[in-house]
Amino acid sequence: MRILDLAYILGLGASLGLVSAHWAVAGRPLVGKVEVGSWMAWPGSGGRDVDPYMRAYLARGVHLPLGAGEGLELIAERSDDGAPLDGRCRYRLTGTVPTTRGWTIEITDRAGRPFQLPLERASFTDSEIVRGEDGKLSVIAAAAPQAGNWLPLPAGGRFQFRLRLYDTPVSSQTGETRAANLPQIARIDCR
């Protein structure tokens, strides 16, 4: 019976420990995540004092994260109403972007890879978009062609918006940024 007990303890400990560790670092970890509106950021990933979970996540793949002074990457998986981003819907990004020397907005799958779409337009930089009279940003993401700054989406399935801010003062104080300073993601309609 003693051996059975020991085997149970060892089996439970090893399997639960390994599975939970794998689960914790398979994707971007919950530890160190900062949420601003619909946007998520991991500002700790660009510094020397990176937390162990983020470090393990970065070491498991070929990642070269932006340095804390170099820039900041923001990821959105949900629109402002809380619904997950879906290729069957149309989305409008409006508002302002914090002070930067340059920013890019990209559409990726949930692993951060661009989609293979017939039209090669996965991203915009700040120099490429057409702005309105007020100088504010307005980008439409939809599967069907749209007027204005259109980012094509896949016909269905989940996707992410990735906003990368280069050389921005926001990177050191991401948690204090207000949601109003980042683009809003509004869902227009769905098929």
Binding site: Y8, L10, G13, L18, V25, L58, G61, L64, S123, T125
Partner: protein, 222 residues
């Protein structure tokens, strides 16, 4: 053999005699008592298992950076052997090197692997009109240092990468009373990557961005 069997048999027959009396009361437990004991034992072993799981979890997470064979520093270790940073393609690198994950398609990324065992590395970059950022990424994940072209002096961004011991040696060799003008960055691992990233704001800037990124020099400092 048979003689031994004959001798052993009476002993075996005699042995149970003293225990023929009924068992003492505490040894004969009722079913609820047995169940309670089993439940207590299961709880204790499960608790022990959970504690072991927590230890295994923490140890695994802490060991991944040292044991990982797939991180960027190992994938691009050979890059930059010619003394300048080498461009990383986002899809399908030459020589079978894995492609960069979660990378910005609008940025040109050039990489230079360093190994500090031979001595400090001098990194020098010329700046241009496009935003340039240089980061030091250690083996096993994590950014040690980041600098942008705003810190450039007369259009040149220059710094030295060294280990703690090399830093101490350099400070000891500094001239007394003179301030050193070089920027020294201490790396806590001997191996790592120097990553130059240039944002190409328009598709036509791509060539300039790549030239700027690959123009980053990384060689042994004297």
């Amino acid at each position: 053999m048979s003689a031994m069997d004959h001798e052993a048999a009476p002993l075996a027959r005699e042995a149970p005699r003293p225990q023929a009396a009924p068992l003492p009361a505490p040894a004969r437990r009722s079913w609820p008592q047995r169940l309670r004991a089993a439940a207590a034992r299961l709880t204790m072993t499960t608790l022990a298992g959970l504690m072991l799981a927590a230890i295994v979890h923490i140890a695994t997470v802490l060991l991944i950076p040292t044991l990982s064979q797939r991180d960027a520093a190992r994938a691009y270790r050979q890059f930059g052997a010619e003394g300048h940073a080498q461009l990383v393609q986002l899809t399908g690198n030459a020589e079978g090197t894995p492609s960069l994950q979660e990378a910005d398609p609008n940025a040109a990324t050039a990489v230079c692997g360093y190994d500090l065992t031979a001595g400090p590395i001098r990194v020098a970059a010329r700046t241009g009109a496009l935003p340039l950022g240089i980061t030091l990424q250690r083996q096993g994940g994590g950014v040690i240092y980041a600098i942008t072209d705003r810190a450039a002096i007369r259009g040149v961004l220059e710094f030295l990468v060294m280990t703690e011991a090399q830093y101490d040696e350099r400070v000891a060799n500094d001239e007394e009373g003179e301030t050193s003008r070089e920027l020294r960055v201490v790396s806590d691992t001997t191996r790592g990557l120097i990553v130059a990233r240039v944002l190409a704001k328009r598709p036509s800037d791509r060539g300039d961005a790549e030239a700027l990124a690959t123009g980053v020099q990384c060689g042994l400092a004297n």
